[in-house]
């Protein structure tokens, strides 16, 4: 199981989480979600420290963090 779970259909691709992540674990997808946004994707499983900064800045509460 991943440390960061992103609800791709809730995400609006604002990229605030990508900027906030101290370990650069997130990128924007090349594909579109149902609403037409490019959602954030969690890519760096090993680098993630479960700090939750991405969760903190997400205006859409589209992220869950596990440790």
């Amino acid at each position: 199981m991943e440390k960061v779970i992103i609800d791709a259909d809730k995400c609006k691709g604002c990229a605030l989480c990508i900027e906030a992540c101290p370990k650069k674990c997130l990128i924007l997808s090349d594909t579109f979600n149902k609403a037409g946004y490019r959602p954030a994707v969690f890519t760096q499983k090993d680098a993630c420290i479960s700090c939750g900064f991405c969760f903190q800045v997400c205006p859409d509460i589209a992220i869950e963090i596990y440790t």
Binding site: Q56, V57, C58, P59, D60, I61, E64, Y66, T67
Partner: protein
Amino acid sequence: MKKIFSRPESLTPAPHLYCAGCGHGIIHRLVAESIDELGVREKTIAVAPVGCAVFAYDYFNFDVTEAPHGRPPAVATGIKRVLPDRIVFTYQGDGDIAAIGTAETIHAANRGENITVIFVNNANYGMTGGQMAPTTLIGQKTATTPFGRDAKRDGYPLHLCELLATLKGVAYLERVTVYNPKHIFNAKRAIKKAFQNQIDGKGFSLVEVISQCPVDWGMTPLDSVAWVKDVFIKEFPLGVFKDI
């Protein structure tokens, strides 16, 4: 694996209709977490504004009523006086609280009503398409100030915390922001305190949250948080303006 951060109970799973990157969603979560942590979800009543947060009743998982534009402090006064054991708060934009609702705001504060006010300052009228608000910065371009706000014609940005700080009835005033995780943690502390004050019967508590409105500002979400940091909070200094 253990879940450590997720949607608080005081928020519904409804998707937000806010623009991508809008600060309202972050502030909703901070309010919801505060209510959860204080254990008062079952007795909380929110008063939603007219503005982008008009649909707050879809997002908050507790009772929410709706006030006419600018009148949440008056409606909250009535609810709190009739049901003093409830936790009553208003959630208002700058157009709502500091333009059309100025009178209700000032008098509820001056009466020292034991309510909590969450004031989201995004320097414009978001819902109606980004017109000038009382809080719009000098030189800021909006739909009604296409060449920038001109003090001679449009007056100066209105600083609500500084204004209310002169009123004896006010218990707590703080201005915070949500442009990065550090400030978001601090905003959470302030919001929770504003609710704790109500539980302790301290009186009128208001937290002004400087927030980003990317689409109406004509910016990407990342440029909008940079503008908050570099420009917006220079005009609206953060800090505690009153704490009795």
